[in-house]
């Protein structure tokens, strides 16, 4: 088969998803009978029926963040990002996992389906509502979103933990090699980041969760890995492709490499730095450029890493450091790393400040800098990713139970999963993880967060609970 046919097939598959998203978006604005909706539906019928004819059926599934058509994963592309993301959210909101078109569909079938889709969005039990309403259409069947079992989640958590510590160990080894003037193998660094990128679609929560534990002994190495994870996760949310994510991950991993030239007594000074020491500290972006270029030359990843190393403290409004004379706007990757670096640094314990800032406080403070020091659009995506209640936040529930945020809820951010650490009588427990999105028989949420606390203030060791 000629190459152009391969590309056409890929495009065709993307169109099927894109057009479905267009129908849903149009129907959100107009009534189902509106000509815009009808036209979109007719276009869709025209698009999918030839495929149903040749393949006998068309199965559209959502796994994690990806759509599959008849078992083949459909690649994300920038052109379709907005519509793909919209559809993923809408599917998840309804717990909708698949749509099977088993024979030619008519515009009328799709009208009924669309009505069911829209109305289920307002239902307390969206999947059931939708399933009921589409049961009359013989040619369209829906399936529930598949959930990963608790057992496999435990395994995944273990694997993620292993990967995280391997990455930290690798970074530690790399930095020590650089310090002793040895050559490093960048291809291996890429492989470490690639495995991180591979885990993202399914395991973003676990990975980001690992960065929430801030009490590691070796801040420098953990910070580099944390910034890399958070940057790649944010990049993934922004729709960057795999290759770009890998480059971003590497750039983030090496963003502070210039610090290896800072004398230990300055870098690890347990008190506030004086002016001269600050002057030295502020040189690390410049030294980072030097270190990367000496190590790597001018390959494309090195160039991106240099840019990030130089710009990560410069701020969007160029008010940071190093001072620049004649400069253009910050690179996208630098703006990403600027945010993730700041967040991780603020929420970590440092030699000069053993008590880190609570994640929600850090987010609030960063929001104040949004639009000046930090890119406002990226901040919006970052807050969406970290959640209103970032993993590791200490929360009091309306049931008078005290818990730690364990996993975010992408669809209903204010209802994360929480691990209970004190029961309603104030007894310490290592309780189960509860989903705050769960409702009782009367349709009311069983538990709600009523207050957040700073886990650092009470010296809560998050590792005890999250690892």
């Amino acid at each position: 088969m000629p190459v152009h046919e391969d590309k056409e097939i890929d495009l065709y598959a993307k169109d099927i998803i894109n057009q479905l998203s267009i129908i849903m978006r149009t129907a959100n604005i107009h009534s189902p009978g509106n000509v815009a909706v009808t036209t979109a539906i007719e276009k869709y019928v025209y698009l999918i029926n030839p495929l149903i004819k040749s393949e006998k059926s068309l199965l559209l599934e959502l796994f994690g963040e990806f759509f599959y058509i008849n078992g083949a994963r459909i690649r994300y592309s920038l052109d379709y990002l907005v519509n793909f993301d919209f559809l993923v959210r809408e599917f998840k909101k309804r717990e909708l996992g698949s749509i099977l078109f088993s024979d030619f569909v008519s515009p009328n079938d799709l009208h009924v389906f669309l009505k069911a889709f829209i109305s289920s969005g307002f239902s307390e039990i969206p999947y059931e509502t939708m399933s009921d309403e589409v049961s009359g259409i013989k040619r369209i069947t829906i399936g529930r979103l598949k959930k990963v079992s608790d057992e496999s989640r435990t395994d995944t958590r273990k694997t993620v933990k292993k990967s995280y510590f391997n990455a930290v160990s690798y970074v530690k080894g790399v930095l020590s090699k650089i310090e002793s003037g040895e050559k490093i193998n960048i291809r291996k660094a890429k492989r470490v980041v690639e495995s991180m990128v591979d885990r993202l679609p399914e395991e973003e929560q676990f990975l980001v969760g690992m960065t929430a534990i801030k009490d590691y002994d070796e801040y420098t190495y953990n910070h580099l890995v944390n910034v890399s994870i958070l940057s790649v996760a944010l990049g993934h949310r922004l729709g960057l492709n795999k290759k770009s994510l890998a480059v971003l991950g590497i750039a983030a991993l090496f963003h502070d490499i210039g610090k290896i030239e800072i004398p230990h007594e300055v870098l690890n000074k347990p008190s506030i730095l004086n002016d001269d020491e600050w002057k030295v500290m502020k040189k690390h972006p410049l030294w980072g450029v030097r270190a990367i270029l000496k190590l790597r030359g001018f390959d494309s990843t090195a160039v991106r890493s240099v840019i990030v190393a130089f710009e990560h403290h410069l701020h969007t409004d160029l008010t940071g450091y190093p001072k620049v004379s004649d400069y253009m706007e910050l690179d996208l990757y630098s703006r990403i790393v600027g945010i993730t670096d700041q967040y991780d640094a603020m929420t970590s314990s440092r030699v000069y400040s053993r008590t880190p800032m609570a994640p929600d406080k850090a987010i609030s403070m960063m929001m104040e800098r949004s639009g000046t020091q930090l890119d406002s659009l990226l901040m919006k995506f970052f807050v969406n990713m970290i959640g209103i209640f970032p993993i590791g936040t200490l929360v009091m529930l309306n049931t008078k139970e005290l818990g730690l945020v364990y996993e975010n809820n992408e669809v209903i951010p204010e209802r994360p999963k929480v691990m209970i650490i004190m029961d309603n009588a104030g007894n310490r427990i290592k309780g189960s993880v509860l989903n705050l999105a769960r409702k009782d028989d009367s349709g009311r949420y069983e538990r709600t967060i009523v207050k957040t606390l700073d886990p650092n203030k009470y010296r809560i060791n998050l590792a005890e609970y999250l690892l």
Binding site: V168, R191, D215, S300, M396, A463
Partner: protein, 552 residues
């Protein structure tokens, strides 16, 4: 299919794949051979899918297996498919039934790279990973990564973390604190999903981000330079900028180079830069004169992505006379006429300031380079190089000598004339004629005398008619009485010995009188109008017509 038949089919597929690996390297994409090779391989693999849905190969260090059957074995290091995949950690490779031709092509383009010889940023696994194939899967053993990882690190890190358990009393305090303060909850940050416009903005940002980063890198390197403290940092900064220039040249991006040079040039005269910094920036600018950069400039000028003439003119502004030597060396290696022309223009521009250095290059072993240098010296026209040119008259290649002769002719001067005069007696008729033309280009009375003397020599009459005619034609360039009288005398010359040669000389003189266009020659010419010698008669009639026509 029986297992042994399957194994045989896979052996054939692998043989095809290895052949394709070589062939696809040899032919450009889209070439009929390229297409056919790929089609054959694709057909072979698809043929296998008639019996099985998946072709899974287990990769060993020197062998490849289908199930437990060995289908490939090679102990050589070169061209060993097994070791090629194994060394990057690939332990299993699968092609599934829905494999697309495009996927196979992409796959082949990854494995056909010679990773040992070509500069590659990524290994095979990374390249496969980036492609994200739907129908080609691979299993990677990450053990090689473990060489750089302390396996006990996780245990140690977790143990260290657990050594600081949460204190129950503190936890109880937290619990009571929060119960007392429950009404004073601060509003959490509100999460608002990105709007459609914001998403669109983001799409634009990402698209914009895909554009080249070298411009930005250059800005950063200048910032590093401006912020540099002390010799060590300044040297590093200049090295990076030099590397940047080299890198841009390798990637045929002369615009980036010009931007860097322009900025460096501005800095070199900026009062804001210290003397020391200006000294270093001058070092950077002079880097473009190096062999390395000039070599790359040659490749760039020769390449399909041909550089604009204006860009080269800009580039030349930053070159100094030190560049002449490498420019000449590279000039001889250039493949295209356009590139050679452009290089010559650059050398002409730079050579004006140091013609002696340029003249020294006349001893280059490559005749075509010497000829180009002579041409360049002619364009420059500096008489200081005449002596060097005269020496080059002894060059063993006629093409060089002819170029020198022409150059000396345009250079004028006594030394040149004397050298050219000697060439009039050369064994090679081409050299003799070229010299005569060059003397004609000098055009002075003494030059005229040299030609007159030559024509008057006894041996001259022994030359072929065509050469003699050329000499007479050259002589006619001087509209001079002495020439007129000489020609008339030759036309009237009587001889009983060598009559036919004499008629030829007379004919040549008639021809030259025609070219001279002096009407006073008409009565003499008319005298020979009815001569019995056909050659003379023809030339005389031709000359009369020419003079009469010119006068009408």
């Amino acid at each position: 299919m029986q297992p042994e038949e399957e194994a045989k089919a896979v052996k054939e597929i692998l043989a095809n794949l290895l052949r394709a690996k070589k062939m696809l390297r040899m032919y450009p994409q889209g070439n009929p051979m390229y297409v056919r090779t790929l089609d054959d391989l694709y057909a072979k693999i698809c043929g296998f899918f008639e019996y099985r849905d998946e072709l899974t190969l287990k990769i060993g260090q020197n062998s490849i297996f289908l199930d437990s059957e060995q289908v490939y074995h090679n102990t050589e290091k070169e061209d060993n498919l097994a070791i090629f995949l194994f060394k990057d950690g690939i332990r299993e490779l699968s092609f599934s039934k829905d494999l697309l031709r495009g996927e196979l092509e992409e796959f082949m383009r990854i494995i056909m790279v010679d990773y040992d010889r070509e500069i590659q940023e990524d290994d095979v696994v990374t390249l496969l990973w980036e492609k994200d194939f739907q129908n080609i899967r691979y299993v990677v053993d990450e053990a090689f990564l473990m060489e750089e990882i302390d396996e006990a690190y996780e245990d140690k890190a977790v143990k260290a973390l657990m050594e600081r358990p949460t204190d129950t009393d503190t936890l109880t305090r937290a619990y009571s604190d929060v119960l007392q303060d429950i009404k004073n909850e601060e509003k959490p940050v509100t999460i608002l999903p990105a709007t459609f416009d914001e998403l669109q903005l983001l799409v634009n940002e990402i698209e914009k981000d895909a554009s080249g980063k070298l411009d930005k890198l250059a800005s950063i390197l200048f910032e590093v330079f401006l912020n540099a403290d002390g010799k060590h940092e300044l040297e590093d900064a200049v090295d990076f900028l030099s590397d940047f220039i080299r890198f841009s040249m390798i990637h045929k991006d002369i615009h980036n180079v010009l931007r860097v040079l322009q900025r460096a040039s501005d800095l070199s005269i900026s009062p804001a830069a210290s003397d020391e910094k200006r000294k270093y920036i001058m070092m950077l600018i002079s880097y473009v004169n190096s062999e390395e950069i000039i070599q790359l400039l040659g490749e760039l000028t020769d390449s399909a992505a041909a550089v604009e003439e204006e860009d080269l003119r800009q580039f030349t502004k930053y070159l100094a006379k030190e560049a002449v030597s490498p420019l000449i060396r590279v000039l001889g290696d250039l493949k295209t006429i356009r590139a050679r022309k452009l290089f010559i223009e650059m050398i002409v521009f730079l050579g004006e300031n140091d013609v002696q250095a340029l003249a020294e290059k006349l001893d280059d072993q490559r005749w075509y380079v010497v000829r180009n240098i002579v041409y360049i010296l002619r364009r420059i026209g500096d008489k200081k190089t005449v002596n060097s040119l005269v020496k080059t008259l002894r060059h063993k290649d006629t093409r060089v000598r002819k170029e020198v002769i022409r150059t000396l002719g345009e250079m004028n001067g006594q030394v040149a004339l004397q050298a050219l005069k000697e060439c009039l007696a050369d064994e090679d008729p081409e050299i003799r004629i070229s010299s005569a033309r060059a003397i004609s280009a000098i055009g002075s009375p003494s030059a005229m005398k040299v030609i007159l003397e030559r024509i008057s020599e006894k041996e001259f009459r022994e030359l072929e008619l065509s050469e003699r005619k050329d000499f007479y034609e050259i002589l006619s360039r001087w509209k001079d009485t002495e020439v007129f009288h000489f020609l008339v005398a030759t036309l009237n010359r009587k001889s009983f010995f060598g009559m036919s040669r004499n008629y030829e000389d007379m004919a040549c003189a008639a021809f030259a009188l025609g070219l001279l266009g002096n009407r006073d020659a008409l009565p003499v010419l008319v005298k020979y109008r009815e001569t019995n010698n056909k050659l003379l008669k023809d030339y005389v009639n031709m000359a009369i017509k020419r003079i009469e026509h010119a006068g009408s």
